[in-house]
Symmetry: C2
Subunit: 361 residues, 2 copies
């Protein structure tokens, strides 16, 4: 097991990474401060891992909420339901909420913890690669609105993140690939050495080599933690983590949330951001090709679905990363070096949107 | 005008109190950091004061959301609606939200600000006595759940609180009295000199003497700010501000939110808490009578509506001030000296509940 600490002004927390951590009752019980716990999970994860967690937390009278699977659960109606379940079980302010599942469960459970009785402690137990390398670390929580993804939420940090890499053995291939999108992102935006390691090891990751996965998760969490420590509220450098996401969120919005997985949309979005960077003379065609190849080898789409460029533009404009009405992009100055800009001409953007051959998955 | 500052680790903010402040564009514009504003108000307040605010903020392209009046608006559905309105107007993260209205509007708008795109700045412009002396100061925001009041919310501090005492001229008598409940509370829990001032001046307050009202608002805000600075997240002393509220919330819950005004329920709740304190040998019968008299002279009910004691108990048990499953009470050790306890015997409680003659309003 490896442990790193994410230090923040409001208090730090440990991120534990290792095989078989769901059997480590000591680790799972350590962050519980009050006398009770609630576990929020979904119908796919519950049959696989819920028993591990309820056993470890048996002394804390666990309240269990099992949600249906899928992105449509990321809605205020789900928060209302969770609060009702917790109140029905008389969970008070001294209840610690555990999120057991992927990014959707973590975002929902974290937001429920942030707003339940004005905030109760919570613990992330991510079971997908995407949530292990990205969404469980850093305190972004929230749900979607019909008019936009993640438009309702809070920055709310967990008490601990406990990553059991063994859970990846049950992850569908498509979701493993989706998680690799965020892994590749860390390399592309700020860690050229890791990007090059990924070029050497992406096949091992796809075939789930445990040592390769452990290294990729640790490196990703370390990079993510560093960025979050520098800029918890995304006033600056944290926005670089949205590389590929401005395009990606538009893809998810156009397809209806959940038809493309978040990581698939981000994979396509990163390739689009690379093309835009190239179009603006920032990186070379071979750089774009290296990123595109890595995304493809990770099993991800390398372009968007068929969306008319005008519609694409409209979807990006409503994204919350639009500051003062202008669309903000994370672009590459080089492989391993990203920057933030809202000075992309509509011409360049429409040119790239018009040139991307549509992909279906 | 008087100005005090509420200092907190996350940054302080000014509380301005004075007549005619809605005409002070300088004060209203000062807390706006981004280029845009949104104003959340309701259908009762809008015809009276919205024009003042839109005029002062005209340069910031205000988005206006006018809610129906009343406590039932404190629901997640209203948050969904506000977020939709803001997204529809393409309000981004640099939008400052103004809450123009009473406690319900302030709680809703503050929570909307806390969760819109993971948090945007907001400003409280309270127009009722209750919101001016209590709910606009200190950062409690949130909405109700069918199973309990204020069960969904955040601690989220405003950028400024701007209290125009002139707005009290249009406040219905019943709401003025409801505000006085919270004013009396500050005296009862920690400020005997203020309690005695209120005994001398409650009639002047009821007939809206401007000097008396200004003094009562300033003293209340100063006491509230002091408590919030000592304990922002209600880990300790801030809970004393819930004097009368454990009983009061149960009354509101039993009657359906809004049938009794919050302040009316708190007025009755304070008298009940005094009776319970007396029953436990903490204060004398004359002390209870002094509080009861003051509550009555403020135009407030001095006892609960007809609710069976068993039902009352059940409603109190779900209140979020129940820690580790036990009901927590704020009781009086003396007039002007409150303390927190979860060691009240059910006997004593049932005795007091059984003895209160039902009041109807």
């Amino acid at each position: 097991m490896s442990t790193m600490t994410l230090d923040l002004p409001g208090g730090g927390y440990p991120i534990h990474i290792g095989a078989g951590l769901l059997a480590r009752a000591d680790l799972l019980r350590a962050p519980v401060s009050g006398g009770r716990v609630a576990i929020i999970t979904n119908e796919v994860v519950a049959p696989l891992y819920l028993a591990h967690l309820t056993e470890a937390l048996a002394g804390f009278d666990p309240t269990v909420v099992v949600l249906p699977d899928g992105e449509p659960q990321k809605a205020l109606g789900t928060i209302e339901r969770i609060v009702g379940d917790l109140l029905g079980r008389r969970c008070d302010r001294a209840t610690t909420i555990f999120a057991l599942g992927g990014g959707v469960v973590g975002d929902i459970a974290g937001f429920a913890a942030a707003v339940y009785q004005r905030g109760v402690p919570f613990v992330q137990v991510p079971t997908t690669l995407l949530s292990q390398v990205d969404s469980s670390v850093g305190g972004k929580t929230g749900v979607n609105h019909a008019l936009g993804k993640n438009m309702i939420g809070c920055f709310y940090q967990p008490q601990a993140v406990i990553i059991d890499t063994t859970t990846l053995s049950t992850l569908p291939d498509r979701e493993l690939s989706a998680g690799l999108a965020e892994v590749i992102k860390y390399g592309a935006i700020g860690n050229l050495a890791f990007f090059e390691w990924l070029e050497q090891n992406v096949d091992a990751l796809v075939r789930r080599d445990p040592a390769a996965l452990a290294y990729a998760i640790e490196t990703s969490c370390r990079d993510k933690a560093r960025v979050v420590m520098a800029d918890e509220r995304e006033a600056g450098v944290r926005a670089l983590l949205n590389f590929g996401h401005t395009f990606g969120h538009a893809i998810e919005g156009a397809m209806g949330y959940g038809r493309w997985l978040h990581g698939e949309a981000v994979g396509a979005g990163m390739v689009m951001a690379a093309h835009l960077s190239e179009r603006l003379g920032l990186i070379t065609a071979p750089d774009t090709r290296r990123l595109c190849d890595l995304v493809r080898r990770a099993g991800l789409p390398t372009g968007p679905p068929a969306i008319a460029p005008g519609r694409f533009l409209e979807l990006m404009a409503v994204d919350k990363k639009a500051a003062h009405g202008r669309i903000r992009f994370v672009l590459l100055r080089a492989l391993g070096e990203a920057f933030l800009t809202d000075e992309v001409s509509e011409d360049a953007l429409m040119d790239v949107l018009g040139r991307m051959p549509p992909v279906s998955i």
